[in-house]
Homo-oligomer: 436 residues x 2
C-alpha cells in the first residue's frame, strides 16, 4: 500500500469507530483519579493497551529513588497504588522514536453542587462529555489511545519506536514523568496532548512556588506605633515583586508573546498574617507563583527574586535587621522551549494541515506541562497539542468536545506515522516517509 | 476624732495589715477567672465583702435584657456561673456617692511554657506577685477591697454611698458593667483601678473592631491578567485606611496627646486572602481596630470610616462594581472623657499628694475600660487609677509590685473618705471634709 492509502485507511477506521473513543473516555472519567487514587483509571488504560500487542511496563515510582533527582518536587510520601504505565511498540528500525505522554491524575472536583452533572458520571450532551478530567487530560489520553488503536487495527508497521506513557502526579509537579525518565525512557521527540484547543504549543512557561515570610513587631493596637506592622511591611514586599515582574517581562522579546499582556507573570496568590484585630501583626506570609520563561533556568530565576528582595534592605532599616525569608516550596513546573525549526513542529503542522486544510496556530503556553521534565531531565524535545480548552480545566462543569477529541486522534495518528516512519514492503512508501 | 487623725489611723491600719492584701490577691489569682469561669474568684470576693457589713447584690446578667441595650456587644450566649457582685455601703447622707469598679475576668494565660511560674500559683518573689490577672486587674481589685477593709476596721463612717462592683466580662466588651448599669447602679463618680502605673487617666480612648472584605476575580496565575487580584486591591484599602488615620489624628488638639505619636490609631491587625499560590486571589479579609477619641461617638466614627472607603469607588472602577464590605464585629470599648476641672481629678490628686508628696502624672490612656460604659450608659463620670503596668498585662509572667498595690490602697482609702465625706460627731471633721 502507498503511504497515502495507509493514511486514508487509518483515518477511515477512526471515523468509523468513534464510539470506541467515547466509551473509553467515559470509562476513564468514571474512575476518579485524584492524587493517590490513580489505580483504577490506570487499570482501564492497561486493559486497552493489552489489545495492542505492546510491551507493557507498570511500576510504582520509588520516592527513595526520586528524591535523588534535583527536579523532584512532589510532597507525596509514597506511590502505593499509583502506578505509572509505559507501553512500547518497538519499530522496525531506521525511524525516529516518539513518546506519547499523558497524565492520568486529575485535580479534585471541588464543590459538587457547582456541577451540572455528577463530576465522575461522564454525561454526554450536545457533543460534549462532562466530567472531571475530561479536558485535563483524559480527552487527550483517549485521543492517543484511539490513534494507537487505529494503527494497530490497520496493521500499520512503524520504523521508530512508539512509547505510550500514562503517568501519575502531573498536577503535583511531575513525579510520574520524572520516574519514567529515571527508568530510562527517552525518545527523539514527544507529544503531550494537554488541552491546547488544537493549537501547537511549542514553548511552555514554567513555574515554581515561593513563600515569603515578613516579620513585624507585635504591640497593642492602641499603641501601634510601639510595634512594626508586618502587614505594612508586606506591602513593600508586594510592590517590589510587582516591579520585579515588570523588569522580568520587559526582557522578553519572543514574538510568540507579542499579544500576551504579561508573558511570565509573578502571581501573589495568598496572604495571611496577624493574629488579633487589635494587635500589630508580627508576621505575614505571602505565597505565590513565579513564572519561568521558556529559555530560563529555575535556579537563575530563584536567585533573581531572592536578590531583588534583598535589595529592600538597602532602603529600609527594618528589613536590614529582619530580612524577608524566601522559601521555594511545593511543586515546580519546568519550562519548555522548542527551537522554531524543530521537525516536531513541521511534522505536526503537516499532519494538522492534512486534516484541517488550514495552518495551525502556534503559541506559547502560560502554564507548564510534564514537557519541561521530558526536555530538561530526559533530553527529549516536546511539542504540546491536544483537544480541549484550558478555561474549562480545573473548573466545575469541565467538558470536552467529542469532535475535537476524534479530530486530534486523527492528526496524532498521521503525526505518528510521519514522525516514526512507515515500514512497508514497497519503496514508494519509504520514499514518502523520509521526505522531510 | 479629727479628719487627719482618722486618715492617719486608716493609713496605719493599712501599713500593719499588708499581709491581708497579699493573701487576698494570691487567693484571687489562684481562682482562674477567664471568660465563663468567674464563679470561684467571685466567691473569694464575696467572702471578703461579707466581713464589711455591706448590702450585697449578686446576680447573673441576663443576655435577654442586655441585648436590648445598644451598647451590648458581647459574643456570650449566657452568664451562667458568671455572676456580677455589687456591695453597697449606704452613707449617712449629704455626701457624694462613689462606684469602685473592678473586673474579675482575666484573659487566657496563653502558652504555659512561656511562664516562669505556673500562671495561677501566685508566686511572690522580690516584692512582686506573678500570675495571670495580677496586674489586670486583681491587684487593683485587691487595693479596693483592702481600702474598704481598712475603712471598716477603723470604723469610718461616710456621708456618701460607696458601691463596690466586681464585674465580669470586661475583657470581652463590658457586659458585666453594662448589666450593673441596667440594674440601676449609678453614682456621682467612679474610680476604676486598672493598671495605670499610678498615673491618673482622665480620658480613655475607645475602640471597636472592623472587618473589611475586598473582592477580586480569580484566574490562573499564569494568566493573572485575566483576573483581578483581591490582594492588590486590598493594598489600596490599606493605604486609604492609613490616610484616614492621619486625617483623624490631625484633628486632635488635646495637649494630653502632645507626646503620643498617634493619639487614636487605626490598627490593621489581620489580613487573609487567596486560596492557592498559583491562583489570583478573589477575596481578602482585613480585620482591625479603630480607635475612638475620648470626645467621639462610635456611630460617627463608623460612618466616617465607611464613607472614607466608599470614596475608593470614585477612583477605581473595580471598587465601584465591587464595593468593599465593612462590618463592625466583636467587642466595643467606649471612650471616656472627664473634663479637666472635674472634682474626681482634684480629689484624687490631693489624696495622691498626701501619700506621695508629689504631683501625679495625668494622662490619656490608649485603651478603653468599663469607664466608657459607666459614663456613656450610666451617666457616671470616671477616673482610672491603679497599680501595675499595662506592659505586663495580657503577657506571660504578668506580675504586680506589692508595694504599689498597698500604696494604691492607701491613696484610694484617702480618696474615698474625701470624695464621700466623713460622717463624724465633731464639727471640725465635717468642716474639713467639705473643704473642696
Amino acid at each position: 500500500m502507498r503511504m497515502q492509502d495507509i493514511e486514508r485507511k487509518v483515518i477511515e477506521w477512526l471515523d468509523q469507530h468513534s464510539a470506541k473513543a467515547i466509551r473509553l473516555l467515559k470509562r476513564l472519567i468514571g474512575e476518579k483519579s485524584t492524587l493517590g487514587s490513580e489505580f483504577n483509571a490506570q487499570a482501564v488504560v492497561l486493559e486497552k493497551l493489552r489489545q495492542f500487542h505492546m510491551d507493557i511496563d507498570v511500576w510504582e515510582p520509588s520516592i527513595k529513588q526520586l528524591k535523588q533527582h534535583p527536579y523532584f518536587k512532589s510532597n507525596r510520601s509514597d506511590f502505593h497504588e499509583s502506578p505509572n504505565i509505559v507501553a512500547k511498540k518497538t519499530g522496525a528500525g531506521g525511524g525516529r522514536s516518539l513518546i506519547l505522554n499523558g497524565h492520568i491524575d486529575v485535580v479534585p472536583e471541588g464543590s459538587v453542587k457547582d456541577w451540572k452533572y455528577e463530576p465522575y458520571q461522564a454525561v454526554e450532551e450536545n457533543g460534549k462529555i462532562y466530567g472531571r478530567g475530561s479536558t485535563d487530560m483524559k480527552g487527550g489520553n483517549t485521543a492517543l489511545l484511539f490513534a494507537l488503536e487505529a494503527l494497530h487495527a490497520c496493521d500499520v508497521k512503524l520504523k521508530g519506536d512508539v512509547l505510550f506513557q500514562s503517568v501519575v502526579d502531573e498536577e503535583c509537579g511531575g513525579a510520574g514523568t520524572l520516574s519514567a525518565i529515571m527508568r530510562g525512557y527517552r525518545a527523539d521527540g514527544a507529544l503531550i496532548p494537554e488541552p491546547t484547543n488544537m493549537k501547537l504549543f511549542i514553548k511552555q512557561q514554567g513555574s515554581m512556588w515561593f513563600r515569603i515570610t515578613v516579620k513585624g513587631l507585635s504591640a497593642h493596637g492602641g499603641t501601634r506605633y510601639e510595634g512594626v506592622s508586618a502587614i505594612e511591611k508586606s506591602m513593600h514586599v508586594i510592590t517590589a515583586i510587582q516591579e520585579l515582574e515588570k523588569v522580568r517581562n520587559a526582557r522578553i522579546s519572543d514574538p510568540l508573546y507579542d499579544n500576551i499582556p504579561i508573558p511570565v507573570p509573578v502571581n501573589i496568590g495568598t496572604i495571611s498574617g496577624g493574629a488579633w484585630p487589635s494587635s500589630v501583626a508580627d508576621r505575614v506570609v505571602i505565597e505565590g507563583r513565579c513564572g519561568i520563561a521558556p529559555h530560563e533556568k529555575p535556579e537563575a530565576v530563584k536567585l533573581e527574586l531572592e536578590n531583588w528582595l534583598k535589595d529592600l534592605e538597602y532602603h529600609d532599616e527594618w528589613f536590614k535587621r529582619h530580612p524577608v525569608q524566601v522559601e521555594w516550596f511545593g511543586a515546580q513546573w519546568l519550562p519548555n522551549d522548542l527551537p522554531d525549526d524543530h521537525p516536531l513542529i513541521s511534522v505536526l503542522q503537516s499532519a494538522y494541515q492534512k486534516m484541517k486544510q488550514t495552518e495551525p496556530i502556534i503559541e506559547a503556553s502560560p502554564w507548564g506541562t510534564d514537557g519541561g521534565l521530558l526536555y530538561h531531565a530526559g533530553d527529549t524535545p516536546v511539542i504540546v497539542f491536544g483537544p480541549g480548552e484550558t478555561k474549562t480545566a480545573h473548573q466545575a462543569n469541565e467538558y470536552i468536545e467529542v469532535e475535537a477529541m476524534i479530530e486530534s486522534a486523527k492528526i496524532i495518528a498521521l503525526f505518528v506515522m510521519d514522525w516514526c516512519g512507515l515500514h512497508t514492503d514497497g519503496e514508494d512508501a519509504d520514499a514518502q516517509v523520509n521526505k522531510e
